[in-house]
């Protein structure tokens, strides 16, 4: 038995999703959302949190004593996977490599480090009294 379905191009839907993610600077933050406590985020790797309709990847870059956050969706194939990627650095810029096709992005400004067009949105993170917060506009 063969069933054929009209297939809606996924890219179009995902493009709308992508538009929901825009980088925010620390001073622009209106809402600090409590993502979890320190022990929820193991060192030197990522964890994904849900905030409204967004999926945000948070990285406890303990080796550098730094925290970063970015969209969880990889703009290359639109899969919600960046939090499962591997952290590292390129010329001492902290970066994340997507687990699907190893596209790498700067965790500082979200730029693509393989010389490709697409980039990712990054978000401010702060840690207060063992609690981890991510900053949003709304």
């Amino acid at each position: 038995m063969f069933i054929t379905f009209p297939v809606a191009p996924k890219i179009k839907i995902m493009q709308n999703i992508l538009n929901e993610y825009q980088s925010i600077a620390f001073e622009e933050v209106k809402v600090w959302f409590k993502a979890g406590t320190l022990k929820d985020f193991p060192s030197n790797r990522g964890g994904c949190i849900k905030y409204k309709d967004k999926q945000i990847a948070i990285f406890n870059f303990e080796r550098r004593n730094e925290w970063y956050a970015c969209q969880n969706v990889c703009p290359h194939k639109m899969e919600m996977v960046l939090s499962r990627g591997m952290t590292g650095s390129a010329d001492s810029v902290p970066k994340i490599a997507c687990p699907m096709h190893k596209k790498t992005f700067s965790l500082v400004d979200g730029s693509n480090l393989n010389g490709e067009d697409y980039s990712i949105a990054t978000y401010p993170v702060k840690v207060v009294d063992e609690e981890v917060f991510v900053g949003f506009l709304e």
Binding site: M1, F2, I3, T4, F5, V7, A8, P9, K10, I11, I17, A35, G36, D40, F41, P42, S43, N44, R45, G47, C48, I49, K50, Q55, I58, F61, R63, R64, K77, M78, E79, M80, V81, R84, G85, M86, T87, G88, S89, A90, D91, S92, P94, K95, A97, P99, M100, K102, T104
Partner: protein
């Protein structure tokens, strides 16, 4: 412009063209080659490999456009009938006439067919060309279908034994029939010959010595051979390989001087009785001899090319007939004068009937000079002995050390290749000296082994000199302080092999220790998995121990798929599974709505598992006796097998049991890249074992072990490492091979590429893991033993330690699954919505 016509397109004719072009410099020339065979020149020395699966193209000496590129006109399937010496022209069977300035006869030889009554019968063949081989194959297939099992080979010399191997490979039982009282009478003495015979007979190859064949029995086709004492050998096919006969008919009809027993008479310039006509190779009669070896033929080609271009190079007075080869799996070599016996000479003999080894060297009475020798069963000393002989080098105080090894001493008695004089000929096929190999590196002309091979052609003939050439190139590179390095990434200026040693020596167990002490920065997606894999290879840590540095699939112990879900592959060792376990897999697929597919590795892959569901799925699997199949890891995937002699009517051994044993032995071991294996119970090779990193195939008398094959983007057949070995030896070689690969390969380099890049290639690898040349076999074995003994299923570990379960949640702050995952229908199942 010089017009040269070459008659004959065999190895020597081809070599003449190659040498001529290389030496021609500014000289303008037009070379026209005539060959009666329909194809380009091919490697006749390795003809029997045609039966072992090589194609005519593999055997070809050149690429198809080589002739065009070098301005050579090649006329195949065209036979030259006549030479007009007066007008310097030739005429072909197409009645075309061509003019020449110089003519080179390289017509070679034909198989010598003794005048036995009935040789014209159907089923009697000679063993000389690819066409002969095709005819033999077709006939063998036909008679096998009619139930025939026995075939004879006439001739117990070098060529005869080659032919016997070919018959053996075709699945018939060969009977070697020889007139003389021993095998290889020209190269071996009686004791050596007996040793060879007993080794060959072990393979169920019949040896019939002292046999004069009276006639070929049978009506139209051969049914047997009748010997002098009215003894009948029943066979359904006969391959004649009893010697060669120079193809001098063109020279005869054209009035050139030929020898009494054939061959075109030449002097040391290779000129025939007509100064504008040269003869080279097996058609040339030099010093009253026809030389049926490739090395003298190549030297003749060289002399003729030099002479035509105006040099005064001449052929050597004495021609070395030393040979080293492998006959039906037995190493055989002889050099210098193998038989010499007189008052001034002492023969030193080592004979070991248990391991089938015979060695003899002939030394002058004063113990100072090596005159010749014979090696059967183990010819690994050949290169060293040959150099000592041909360079008249001093012998050690106890000459017997040369074949027995220095007992109690420290270093090898041969010394290193670097101790040889610069004039020592290393590659005798191409006449390349040690000096020219080393110089090409030290003066900067060449950078690598492959450059040297390209420039000098060393190793491209019989290949026996390869280990020495490799050593020389390495030593020369070292002498100018050169080292070639491939560092991993910006964080480490080391190769994977160096990093492996660094980790091992310093006993590091954490990535950041390594990068802090020996690298810089924070690491990346390249070096982190490399170091994690090294930890696993050394300490057999499971992937659970290095979660942050493992590649993503290792982190979640599953394969990430297109939509970010995972696939689950439990181990089904050797592809053998009970109905009960199959039902468990089916029930899981139904419960978690997974797409199921049978993989190429004889397992079942379950696709579309949510990250959150992985531990639940594995709980059920493990409760039902499954374990991780490591389909996600750079480690052993699976060992594929055919059903074997338990069920198959052709199976020669129990391939499934062996596959399961191999898979269970090496499961879970992390390596530079994935590893796949296969076991077939006969040469039909249903398990496709030669397309794997390691493949074992049952043959008469044991197993053949093949290594370093793969499918993928660049398919490669695995190559033979050892033949007819028992199971225990397979495991021993496998342990050494895998561990050596794990230690030395670059990141994500599969075994095939690794072997390609390994200096010295397969020969060197054999030296290391079979002959223990660098003395590491014991270490490799014990390292492997410790890995094998400490296997743990990493999924079981996860389920036993709840804190490890946390990483399988998609969200840190919610137990929900990723809602963005959508599916569409695919036949009766589903697939991710397309990108």
């Amino acid at each position: 412009m010089i017009k040269v016509i070459v008659v004959g397109n065999g190895m020597v004719g081809y070599k003449f063209c190659e040498k001529f072009i290389a030496k021609s410099g500014q000289e303008k020339y037009q070379i026209t080659v005539f060959g009666e065979e329909p194809r380009r020149a091919y490697d006749r020395v390795h003809l029997s490999e045609y039966f072992a699966g090589k194609t005519a193209d593999d055997l070809s000496m050149s690429t198809s456009n080589w002739y065009d590129e070098n301005n050579i006109i090649l006329n195949t399937s065209e036979l030259v009938l006549k030479i007009d010496k007066e007008n310097k022209t030739i005429t072909t069977h197409l009645d075309k006439t061509f003019g020449y300035d110089y003519l080179v006869l390289a017509t070679g030889s034909a198989a010598f067919v003794p005048p036995i009554k009935g040789v014209e019968k159907e089923g009697v063949f000679v063993y000389r060309t690819i066409e002969d081989l095709d005819a033999i194959m077709t006939y063998a297939k036909k008679i096998k279908q009619n139930g025939a099992t026995e075939a004879a080979v006439l001739g117990g010399g070098l060529l005869g034994l080659e032919a016997a191997k070919a018959v053996y490979d075709l699945g018939l039982n060969p009977h070697v029939v020889e007139f003389a009282p021993r095998l290889m009478p020209r190269q071996l003495d009686k004791a050596a010959s007996d040793m060879l015979q007993s080794k060959i007979e072990k393979l169920n190859i019949g040896i019939h010595l002292n046999k004069a064949t009276q006639y070929i029995d049978g009506e139209h086709s051969i049914k047997g051979m009748m010997f002098a004492n009215d003894e009948l050998l029943k066979v359904d096919m006969l391959v004649i390989s009893a010697g060669i006969k120079p193809r001098d008919e063109l020279a005869r009809v054209s009035g050139l001087v030929v020898g009494e027993r054939g061959g075109v008479l030449v002097g040391n310039t290779m000129q025939t009785s007509d100064p504008f006509i040269y003869a080279i190779g097996e058609v040339a009669l030099y010093n009253q001899m026809i030389y049926g070896l490739v090395a003298p033929g190549y030297e003749m080609a060289d002399v003729a090319a030099e002479q035509i271009l105006g040099s005064d190079k001449t052929m050597r007075e004495t021609i070395d007939m030393s040979t080293q080869l492998k006959l039906i799996g037995v190493e055989v070599a002889s050099f210098g004068d193998p038989f010499i016996e007189n008052d001034e000479v002492v023969a030193i003999v080592y004979e070991n009937k248990f391991s089938g080894i015979y060695k003899r060297i002939n030394v002058t009475k004063d113990g100072k000079t090596l005159l010749g020798g014979i090696l059967v069963g183990d010819s690994s000393d050949y290169n060293g002995l040959f150099q000592i002989y041909s360079n008249a080098m001093a012998l050690p105080p106890n000459p017997e050390d040369l074949i027995l090894g220095s007992r109690g001493g420290e270093s090898s008695t041969m010394g290193s290749a670097m101790d040889l004089p610069d004039t020592a000929v290393i590659c005798s096929c191409e006449n390349v000296t040690k000096g020219s190999i080393c110089c090409s590196i030290t003066d900067g002309t060449c950078e690598s082994l492959s450059d040297v091979v390209k420039l000098t052609k060393a190793t491209s003939g019989c290949g026996g000199c390869k280990p020495m050439v490799v050593d020389l190139v390495k030593a020369a590179q070292k002498s100018i302080g050169k080292e070639v390095k491939e560092s991993i990434c910006e964080h480490f200026h080391y190769t994977r092999q160096e990093l492996f040693d660094i980790v091992k020596i310093n006993k590091y167990t954490n990535f950041y220790e390594v990068v802090d002490h020996h690298g810089n920065g924070d690491g990346c997606e390249v070096c982190k998995p490399v170091v994690a894999s090294i930890f696993s290879s050394i300490y057999n840590d499971t992937a659970n121990k290095h979660v942050t540095t493992q590649d993503t699939n290792d982190r979640y112990l599953a394969n990430i798929q297109r939509n970010g879900t995972y696939s689950v592959v439990p181990r089904i060792a050797g592809g053998e599974i009970t109905p009960e376990k199959l039902i468990v897999i089916g029930e899981i697929a139904k419960e978690f709505n997974l797409y199921t597919k049978i993989t190429g590795a004889q397992r079942v892959d379950l696709f579309g598992a949510h990250l959150n569901d992985l531990p639940k799925i594995w709980k059920i699997l493990i409760d039902n006796g499954f374990e991780s199949g490591h389909a996600y890891g750079k480690s052993l995937r699976a060992v594929k097998s055919c059903v074997g002699n338990a069920w198959c009517r052709y199976g020669m051994d129990d391939s499934t049991t062996f596959a399961i044993e191999l898979e269970n032995r090496y499961r879970g071991i992390r390596s530079p890249h994935k590893l796949k294996g296969g076991v077939s119970a006969c040469i039909r090779e249903c398990a496709e074992a030669r397309g794997k990193d390691f493949g074992v195939i049952a043959v008469e008398g044991g197993w053949n072990l093949y290594i370093c094959g793969n499918g993928g983007a660049n398919p490669k057949h695995a190559v033979l490492l050892a033949e007819q070995i028992d199971k225990e030896t397979v495991f021993k070689y496998m342990d050494r091979f895998l561990m050596y690969y794990i230690r030395t390969a670059g990141p994500l380099v599969r075994t095939a590429t690794w072997l390609e890049k390994l200096d010295g290639g397969l020969d060197y690898l054999k030296e290391v893991i079979i002959h223990d040349r660098i003395g590491i076999c014991e270490t490799l074995e014990s390292e492997m033993e410790s890995l094998v003994g400490t296997f743990e299923c990493e999924w079981k570990q996860v389920l036993e330690k709840p804190r490890l379960l946390k990483r399988f949640n998609h969200f840190v702050n919610s137990d929900e699954k990723d809602e963005n995952i959508e599916y569409v229908a695919l036949r009766d199942q589903k697939m991710p919505k397309p990108w």
